[in-house]
Structures are given as C-alpha cells and as structure tokens.
C-alpha cells in the first residue's frame, strides 16, 4: 500500500515537473512585455526599465525558472501584473466558484447518466435504449459553448426563466447562486452525462451478463435491487476511472463555459490572464489545473482500489 502511494506520488512529481517546464516556457515565449503590461499606456522608459530589473525579467531564463519554481514550492505563485494581488489569493477566490460549477455539472451529469445508462442497458434494444444512445451520441458531439449559447437563447432570452449570465456567490444566497449556475452546469453536465451514459451502458451490459447477477435474481431480488444494489456498483468502477481521465477535458470545458456565462471562475481568470498577458496568473491557473487533473487521477486510483476489494494496492503500474 505504502509503496504504491509512494510510487504514484513520485510519478506525480515527475509529471508536475514537466508541467512546470511547459508552463514556464509557454509564458516566457509569449509576446508582450510584462513591465509594459503593468505600467500600461502611460509608462515611461525609465520606469519600465526599473520594473523589468525589479521583476528579474533581465535575468537568464534558467535563473528565472528556478526562482519561479522555488517560489512555487513555498506556495508563492507570485503577484498579478494587473493589480499586484497575490496569485494564490486570486486562485483561492476563483477555485470555489469553478468547484461549484464542477460539482453541479457532475451532479447533473450523474443524475442524467445513471438512469439513462441503466435504462439503456436493462432495456437493451428498445426505443428507450435507442433514445439513450442517441442522447449519448449527440451529447458527446455537442460543444459546450454551443449548448451554452443554445440554453441561453432558449431559457434566458426566449423564455426568460434564467439569467443569461452572471454569478452570485453561494455564501450570499444559496438559491440564487444555484439558479445562476444551473444553465452553465447543464451546458457542461450534458456532455459529461453523455460520456458517462455511454460508458455506463457498456459497463453495465457486461456486468449484467455476469453470474452473480443471476445469483441475485435467484435469491429473489427484484430487478431494481439487482441493478442498483449489485450491477451498478460494479459497473460504476470503470466509469469512475474513465471519467477521471475525462477530467482534463472537463476542465477545458469550464474555461469556455465560464467565458460564455461570464462566471468569474478559474477559467475566466485564465482567459483574462492570457488576454492581459498577466503571466503570473496564467502560470498559476494552468499549474493549478494540471495539479487538479493529476491529483484527481491519483485519488481515483486510490478510491478505485478501496471500492474494489479485489484490487490490492501494490507497486504495480496501471
């Protein structure tokens, strides 16, 4: 168990190292002079040069890299070029917003995917199955931004049921917060639910053909109990793994969804940081996203081994 954890943690660190190299090199070849970005249109040459020196922009790149990583390791993500805010506090501010969107999207996705997957697997070949399959197919092909715009058009502009965009912090008003975030969560969740439905269906079909399902029926369980009590739990394991692998793509979806619905989360922070050449923020946001993806996958592996008693946590690779 311990060796498994250590091995995986070591792997994570190596990957993070590579992520940091990617992020650093990306940002350092981005066109745009950070000093000018900070001082803006009315800057003078002297103040620009002074600031460049001060920010270490005149140091060799390798030095800059190590200085940056060194700070990162101490939890110092640097300061925003825009307003000198600590990047870490910016992240701390934005992460809960994106987390709320993520949680709501996953909730919606699961609420749709479980019944849809179960129905299509247990009623294989029926109209239900075809509709669920069709839903899964179209959902997977629906770009979140297009679905988002469609939802805005239907439910906000035409019907007026929802606000077309915006965000209310959940700490201020829970109901309103959920209400504002429902459309974006649906826009993201539908695609996810389509993926999940697809995976769950095939996974369930496999499990439903297994001997212990027959045992379940033989001992007098009703279909519902067999499906939800036995089949679902077993078939959800591979779904969890695959959806963890989808997490990176999901985060990518939050970026554009936040942009469309004007949700001030991590994604919008990232887009703004690219637009305003706010490098520390950009670096911080990308590093965090990669870290989240890596951590989620790690935790999924661990969770998987807990949920499936057959898997022993040994040093073996995936």
């Amino acid at each position: 168990m311990l060796s498994f954890l250590l091995r995986r943690a070591g792997l994570m660190i190596v990957i993070l190292f590579f992520v940091s190299i990617i992020v650093f090199s990306l940002v350092n070849v981005l066109p745009g002079d950070p000093a000018l970005m900070i001082l803006g249109q009315e800057a003078t040459d002297e103040s620009l040069e002074a600031l460049r020196e001060d920010m270490g922009l005149n140091d060799p790149l390798v030095m800059q890299y190590f200085a940056w990583v060194g700070d990162l390791l101490q939890g110092d993500f640097g300061q925003s070029f825009r307003d000198n805010t600590e990047v870490s506090s910016l992240l701390a501010e934005k992460i809960p917003i994106t987390l709320q969107l993520t949680v709501m999207s996953f909730a919606i996705a699961v609420l749709i995917a479980i019944p849809a997957g179960v129905i299509s697997a247990t009623r294989k070949g029926t109209l239900w199955d075809s509709s669920a399959t069709l839903f899964a197919l179209s959902g997977v092909s629906l770009p979140p931004f297009w679905l988002g715009i469609l939802l805005i058009f239907i439910f906000a502009v035409t019907l007026g049921w929802f606000p077309p965009s915006g965000y209310v912090p959940i700490t201020e008003n829970v109901a309103q917060s959920l209400w504002y975030m429902l459309l974006p969560a649906v826009a993201l969740g539908v695609r996810l639910s389509a993926e999940l439905t697809r995976m769950l269906r095939s996974s369930l079909l496999e499990v439903l053909g297994s001997d212990y399902i027959r045992t379940g029926y033989a001992k007098g369980l009703l279909e519902r109990a067999v499906v939800y009590g036995h089949a679902l739990r077993n078939s959800i394991l591979p779904v969890i793994t695959v959806s963890a692998l989808q997490f990176a793509a999901f985060l990518g979806g939050t970026v554009i969804t936040e942009e469309i619905f004007n949700i001030p989360g991590l994604g919008q922070l990232l887009v703004t940081s690219i637009q305003t050449r706010d490098f520390p923020v950009l670096q911080g946001a990308v590093m965090f996203m990669a870290l989240a993806v890596i951590l989620i996958n790690f935790l999924t592996d661990v969770l998987y081994s807990i949920l499936d008693p057959r898997i022993k946590l040994t040093g073996g690779s995936q």
């Binding site: 066109p31 201020e172 305003t276």
Partner: protein, 523 residues
C-alpha cells in the same frame, strides 16, 4: 487480513477528510470575502438594497492608487473616495474641489490654492497644505514611478503659505496645469496612510471623498460606505458598490433585470434597446476623446503622405457611426470633439470619396498597398475592422485584420512593430491632453513616428499660452495640419452613454464620463 481492512478504512477516512478540508478551505475563502452580512437575499450585494447604489463597470480597476493609476476605469472609483484639488463642471470648466479657490499670476507661473477647511481623511488625518505638498512630492518621487508625474513636472517650487494656503511656482507657463489637477495628479491621498508600511494604497485607498473604502474582491467588486465625517454634503445613501462586468451583454442584463443602478459604459448596439426600456433612463453626452487608426509612418506604404491621405477619403465615417455605433458617435476629423472649444468648425467631415482616394493612391506611385490592421478582439472592434477592411480594400488596399489583446497592441506600439493599429484616446479635459503627447514629435503616444515642425511649434505654443482664444486658433491650425499630414486617421468621437435605473436621480453628465456617486440620489 484485518490489517488490510483497517488500513483501507483509514485511507478512506483520510481521503474524505482531505476532501472536506479542501471544500472547507474553498468555502472559507469565500466567507471571508463577503463579510458584510447576508440578510438581503434579493440582490448581488451584501448591503441593504434600499440604501445601496451599485455601479456597473466595464472592467475591474486594477490599481486603486490614483498616483499610480493608468486605467480609465480606475478614475470611476476615485470619484467615490478621493477628491481632486480642482473639479470640472458639465462644460469642463474648473470649479472648486479640495481647493475652494485659487489665483493664477499674470505670467501664469504662480498658482495659489486656498484650501477647503475642516476636511479629514478617512483615517482621521487632517487635510491641509502640508498634505497637498506631500501628495505632489509623492507623485514627483521617482521611486514611486508615477505615470502621472508629467502633469506636475514643470513645478519649480512649492510652498506652504499657511495651513490652508498652498503656492506652486512653475518653470514656464503650462496652460493645462489646472486641468491636470482635476485628474489623477490632483487626487489627494492620506499622507498618513501613504507613509504606513502596512497599508497598500493600491488595494485599500484612503482619501477624503464622500465614501470610504470597505472591501475589495479582486477582479469582481468593490464596496464603499458613506464617510460620516465628510466635509461636504452627505450622500443620499449609505452603501456604494462597484461591480465589474467585462462582458457588455452581462453588464446590460444586470442593469435591466439585475441589481445594477447605473453603468459606466455600454455597447452601442444596445442603445435602442435601452432607450426603449421605460425603466431605464439614458443620459447621453458628447465624449472628449477621439478614435481612429494609427498609421506607422516609418513603414511602407504609410511613409507616403498620399497613401495616408487616401485613407482619409476611403473610409465612410457616416456608415461606421451608423452601423457600428448606432449613431452613438460623431464622425471625427481631428483629435478635438465637436463640443470642445478647440474644435475647428472649418474642417468638415468629408463624404467617402472612392475616386479621390484612388487618385491619391495612383499619385503616390506606391504599388504594394497591403498592410495588417491590428485591433483588439471586442465585438465592436471586430465589426469596425471588418467594415474598414471592406472600405479600404475597395479603393485598392489589401487589409489583413489581426486581433490582438489590448495589452499586446500597446506592446507593439512601443516597439513600433505594427502597420496600422486601432488605438484611440479617452480624452482629457484640456485639449492639450488630446494633442501634445499624441502628435508632437517623439512624444509618449506618438507611435506614428510622424514629425512636423510647424505642428510641434503650435502644440508647444498652445500649452504655454494662457489665453484661450489664442490657444483655440493654434489648435485649429494644428487640426488642419494633422488632417493634411494624416499620420492618424480620425474616425469618430464616441458619445458617452450612462444608462441608469429610473429611480436614480441627480446625475450630472460631465463629458469626462466619470460618475460622481455623491451627486446621485435613490428614489
């Protein structure tokens, strides 16, 4: 076997704890931001809706230190908690601010300011001549690197005559000096707070204004509260908030159906919609800035004057103001808005003259007329650039549009790495602010690389002359030279629109576009 069971349970517990802690941290972070009670459920704000005015901004103001500020949107905030020595009225004429009166010597070199008495800063410090002196010194301090120092650079000497009298000696006459004091250079920050190492004025401003700073959520919103010891008339409402919505549609939605009371900027495509809305009052005022195309005269084909002139005739300014701005802009031919005293009424907006433009191009003898038009990626900019491309391609140019973020455009300007850029100016109260640094040889914003001795002379003379009639004549001549020289294609003067809920009263639309929140009342 039991060990394994145990360790699994332990691990599960650990993971769950981790998740909960993470969630709690997230939640905790948010809690601390929204300190201020959550009793009111109905709007964006934490504060009592009846007693709160919410301003919608088009961008989050980055730096709240007026002496370091460069962004236009920051000036909106400064009207809440800072005051300037001099103010301007609706006609842009100077009126008292923190200086209740002032004298200018005959030669225009000595300014004596008689300060408002009984003014205190939000941190309790007294406002007096020493404070003004401290502020001027702070701006001029090279260590601070204030981008606004140029407004004060001509100060030779300043002295504190008595507690409320402050005297400034200039090296030479500088006509825009007073108007500069109505802007960032005249904002007075608390010397006590500025000296305090623990206070970061960029994030927690301390001034003398009618509202004092309460809290800020970076890149989201700012909260202010009525300053009870304000020397002037106390504002009508207690809480003031500024919420940033960079998305223009969101901003309007939040005004129409949400919680914003007034908005500083709108997309012109929404003008009709807002004017038709019975619950929205729209105030319209001529702007003081100018917008157009900056031509790189160091590069082909714009090193050729005839090519530049051809552009002046190739563009259809009326179509632009109509299609892109829904008639919410005036066609421009000079840096001075039609409403400005510096405007030259003899310069008329020409019709689009395709043939004339083609003739000019032919005369120029330039064959390669291809260039890249660099614009920022906003919807209106995109629409405008597409129109320009269509119009310019028509007469023989070959335009390629490139969308670059505003910051990156600036970057290229400084490096001279561009052909044509869509860059304009929000405008200054004094016409000097629209002309000198933009069109004088080698000045800060003269990215065009153009140089005209006669123009330079006029612009210098105009800023060192006190008499407005003389200055007016100079600016009129300057405008004619600019039109002929054409380093910059003036396209339009954007009108300033301020839509507000119909219960918001008392709005004075000053052409500088700044909302003065203390004037507003809520019905």
């Amino acid at each position: 076997m039991d060990d394994r069971m145990y360790s699994k349970k332990l691990l599960t517990t650990l993971l769950l704890t981790l998740l909960i802690v993470l969630a709690a941290c997230g939640g905790g972070g948010q809690d601390s931001e929204s300190a201020g009670g959550e009793d009111e459920a109905e709007d964006l704000t934490n504060n009592d809706a009846e007693d709160t005015l919410v301003v919608g901004l088009d961008d989050d103001p980055p730096l709240l230190d007026p002496h370091l500020s460069t962004a236009q949107v920051e000036s909106q905030i400064f009207k809440a908690n800072y005051e300037t020595l001099i103010n301007v009225d609706e006609n842009l004429d100077p009126i008292p601010g923190l200086a209740k009166d002032w004298d200018v010597s005959e030669d225009g070199l000595t300014y004596t300011f008689y300060l408002q008495e009984g003014v205190t800063f939000h941190d309790g410090a007294d406002f007096n001549a020493e404070a003004v002196k401290y502020n001027f010194e702070r701006i001029l301090d090279e260590d601070l690197g204030s981008p606004n120092a140029s407004d004060l650079r001509l100060i030779e000497e300043m002295s504190v005559e008595d507690e409320y009298t402050f005297v400034v000696e200039l090296e030479e006459t500088f006509a825009p000096f007073l108007s500069g004091l109505s802007h960032r250079a005249g904002q007075i920050v608390s010397p006590k707070a500025a000296e305090d190492e623990e206070i970061d004025l960029s994030n927690e401003p301390v001034g003398t204004g009618p509202f004092q700073f309460v809290d800020r959520t970076a890149q989201s919103h700012l909260e202010f509260e009525r300053f009870d010891d304000y020397w002037g008339e106390s504002p009508d409402y207690k809480y003031l908030e500024y919420h940033a919505f960079s998305n223009e549609d969101t901003r309007i939605t939040n005004l129409v159906s949400g919680d914003l009371d007034i908005v500083n900027r709108i997309a012109h495509k929404d003008i009709e919609q807002l004017e038709e809305n019975p619950e929205i009052n729209m105030s319209e005022e001529d702007g003081i800035g100018f917008q157009g195309l900056m031509l790189n005269t160091d590069r082909e084909p714009f090193d050729n004057q005839k090519v530049r002139q051809a552009m002046n005739y190739a563009v259809d300014r009326d179509a632009i103001t109509e299609v892109v701005f829904h008639n919410g802009a005036e066609p421009a031919v000079s840096p001075f808005a039609p409403s400005s005293w510096a405007n030259n009424p003899d310069l008329e907006v020409p019709d689009r003259e395709v043939e004339k433009a083609q003739e000019l191009l032919e005369e120029s003898g330039v064959e390669d007329l291809s260039f890249t038009l660099t614009v920022s990626p906003s919807p209106a900019e995109q629409q405008l650039s597409e129109m320009l491309k269509s119009m310019l391609d028509d007469v023989g140019f070959e335009v390629e549009i490139e969308q670059v973020e505003f910051g990156a455009i600036l970057d290229r300007m400084y490096e001279g790495d561009y052909d044509v850029a869509r860059l304009g100016w929000s405008g200054r109260v004094d016409p000097d602010g629209n002309a000198y640094s933009w069109f004088h040889t080698d000045e800060t914003y003269n990215f065009t690389g153009s140089s005209n001795e006669q123009l330079d002379e006029l612009l210098v003379d105009a800023r060192t002359t006190v008499d407005q009639n003389e200055r007016q004549e100079m600016y009129r001549q300057a405008a004619e030279i600019l039109w002929d020289e054409a380093p910059y294609i003036f396209l339009y003067h954007e009108n300033d629109y301020k839509p507000m809920k119909d219960n918001v009263q008392g709005f004075n639309h000053v052409p500088d576009g700044l909302i003065r929140p203390a004037d507003l009342t809520l019905e």
